[in-house]
Symmetry: C2
Subunit: 559 residues, 2 copies
Amino acid sequence: MAKEPTIQVIPLGGLGEIGKNMTAIRYGEHIILIDCGLAFPGEEMMGIDIVLPDYTYLVENRDKVQAVLLTHGHEDHIGGLPYFLKQINVPVYGSRLALGLVDRKLKEHHMDGQSTLLPVKPRDKVEIGPFKVEFIRVSHSIPDAMALAIHTPLGTVVHTGDFKIDHTPVDGDVIDLHKFASLGEQEVLVMLSDSTNAEREGYTLSERLVGRSFEQYFLEAKERIIIASFASNIHRLQQAILTAHKYERYVAVAGRSMVNVLAVASELGYLHIPEGMLIDLDEVDRLPKNQVVILTTGSQGEPMSALTRMAHGDHRQVEVMPGDTVIISATPIPGNEKLVSRIINQLFKLGAKVIYEGSSDIHVSGHPSQEELKLMLNLLRPKYFIPVHGEYRMLKKHAELAQQLGIPGENIFIGEIGQVFTFTRRSGRLAGRVPAGRVLVDGLGVGDVGNIVLRDRKEMAQEGILIVVVTMDKQTHQVLAGPDIVSRGFVYVRESEALMEEARRKVNAALDKCTGQGNCGWAYIKQEIKGALGKFLYEKTRRKPMIMPIIMEVDKKTN
Amino acid sequence: MAKEPTIQVIPLGGLGEIGKNMTAIRYGEHIILIDCGLAFPGEEMMGIDIVLPDYTYLVENRDKVQAVLLTHGHEDHIGGLPYFLKQINVPVYGSRLALGLVDRKLKEHHMDGQSTLLPVKPRDKVEIGPFKVEFIRVSHSIPDAMALAIHTPLGTVVHTGDFKIDHTPVDGDVIDLHKFASLGEQEVLVMLSDSTNAEREGYTLSERLVGRSFEQYFLEAKERIIIASFASNIHRLQQAILTAHKYERYVAVAGRSMVNVLAVASELGYLHIPEGMLIDLDEVDRLPKNQVVILTTGSQGEPMSALTRMAHGDHRQVEVMPGDTVIISATPIPGNEKLVSRIINQLFKLGAKVIYEGSSDIHVSGHPSQEELKLMLNLLRPKYFIPVHGEYRMLKKHAELAQQLGIPGENIFIGEIGQVFTFTRRSGRLAGRVPAGRVLVDGLGVGDVGNIVLRDRKEMAQEGILIVVVTMDKQTHQVLAGPDIVSRGFVYVRESEALMEEARRKVNAALDKCTGQGNCGWAYIKQEIKGALGKFLYEKTRRKPMIMPIIMEVDKKTN
């Protein structure tokens, strides 16, 4: 009996989590990928720079992988590409903007010119093996975001990408509701849709609103205006620039990613900066204060960002002062609340007027609220539905919405990364798993930091480390030097000399059991030291530092 | 010329920060303290258990300290007492509830019976040296919270404590607006007031609302109900218990602090539990599911709390399952958002219905919003105003409100801990500073972890540590053993053997410059190792682990 052909949808990232979005669509011997993002490390991932999806499955099936399709140019959708393309160099389809940002990334990784980047426009159709892919315009917090309709021999899979329904987008390019309607009119087998804001009732507001707020604050500001925003929110920057132009202010740019993205966006025509408006950050001080706007990174309070440095008075070119209006045009991403709050406090202390979340309409989300999700579900009327791009609680809420709209519960899949969702023309089911997870990037190392290293980092961070070194004779196990005890992150040594002296005595006592006899193995001695010292320190301090005994053996015969 | 007498207000904690509230009021040779709280460590204070105010100033003036006055029994107002009383054992005034909680704390510190705890009621007046102190009822998220009017020979200082204006409090004891009015009618020299919610417009809602929400969720719930809340929010627990009683459910309690506070509160008559309603957690499984309510700790997602353990399936007695309704009756404190979110995801995954912030009215704040702050300011009409209990941005906002109500800007002080605010009958000014800051408690150590230890912890957490040990001859500097390199939190060693081998060669090269010559000091050799290894590792990995060279010297002559 011939095996019935199937479509497999295999999420490798972005499901049950926020970030590192990546989904494989497989039909027979052909795989296409939707996005290849990164995630930023949680605080428990100490010292980690970025997190990639584990795409072992793709490496194992590298001959089947045909292409990567990008929905848009945010880091959580494109940030994994340099790493991925190094291993599996396939063509990448995306908007000119997304590819412009990818290109810059590849250059940073010294990979320019090594990959095929194929620009597509909304309503473009490309054929990749058995897949016919249509790109569909949506609104989002970066221009030229696109949903994908992937037509396969068994039916159509629609992935909304990140979207919102903005009826008055800044660039005038309205989301292609007609195309979604016509797909729904035909037949959608599987729909995957953005769940980020599934817990929010109503509609997400239009980006235009932020422009109106800028207008208001520009009217009120007597001196300099500093606007912090995500660099990739080009429509927001555009609105800031146009408002600046209207109020006869020059614009300077601070922060590496802001400079980079502005360069790409204006080069590609996504951003219009009136002639002569852009000035160098060094020129700011030479202009009257009411003629200046500074666009800066740091809206998330990132420790090394330009705004953070300004707030702490160590930005080389910009000193925040009374009279300045600072607009933080963003909402803190969960986990960043305290960082952002600290910046706000600092800016207030410097005398600035600070406009921030809660105090005004200076930010709107780029993701759809419940009414938009319902509209999209009702337009597409899919047979099977997979809520994606969200933590479990959001997926769950999105699933509930879908059920309220009449999609049967058994046709809705709340999944996890690595699960294989298998569809035929008339069936959908969970069928097995592939490897999935996270790969940590620390400096140049990709994947060389794992759970053991993280556990050690956490232990040292919480309790510090105590290193005990003894030099012993290889034959007799006589102590030749030491024990020396050094600690880091445990107690301030100068004030704890008595404790350390006593600790040394404990180690000596442990050694006395063994040394001079030559009948204890090194491992046994180490264990004795750990045990005695750990017990003693816990009694004295109620702390459990990591204890690391090191024994150096000297062969007196040969020396 | 005799020195003019003054009142000094000296905030030692809680100003420009949330937590560890403590304020000294000094007149001549007499000091009284308002509150003695602790703060919970920020994530940058790795491994720290709690944070105390630095009260060096009080220790230096211990003979002047007369008493501690407690506004209420929250940790950030009483948590520092066991440490403080160990050093300066003065009487403590507070409500019966606050003192009941203090008493329990002192027992935990094996200090029972060693301090004088003096219960007071609203409208009580006590005389302490030159101070006449009136206790005034306010509403807050713990019963029997009180403001203080401190009458001094130079005028009256009013400290609102933490408060809100709840016209329909659960216990029926309404905030004593009449007393505040009569104080304002006379004359208030200095007012200190709660700024926590100064950024929120309007009024804070009544605690009763939460009771109404409980009512609704109890009506809907078919099976067990689990409610997570702050243990100290006794009115909320009371409402949960009464609602449980109405719907004929038994109540069980999970989590140490919940058990403790319930015991104190019911013993002292603050909490009424109908006969036979309270059951043991072990009995829960024997009852029909629709007859059970579990009150639990963990509303902030604290890693070791009962709710967290239930969510992760490792609570000994309670297993969360489909059909359960879990109500998280709290808002995440800034910094806890991700912890709480993780719990919510986990509970959803277990199939529970989770009611949480944003999805409903299951929490109200205990602090006053702008309209309440204005009312209090207008009732008291102080000559001088010090916004307290808040971060800078909140103090700033509160100051703005006061100015809008007609208090001159120069009579409003946005201060910092350690500043001395000095008042006479007709003047107020900033006059000097006393030591202030934070004292870190780690295990049994109070103050033995300082910035150096924290910096080392952070460095090891981010980058890991590399220990290089060499045993050398004392005279000749010949290498007798090693160099051995061990690392923790750096790379997973088994996969990095080549890197470590090369690192060892670098160390050997550095040693070769020195050894066998006896002309390099140990410090110089260590510096060489650090330099060579640091450079090499950064080039290879772009990481900068802490490098710790340890040299053991063996005196071959004597050995």
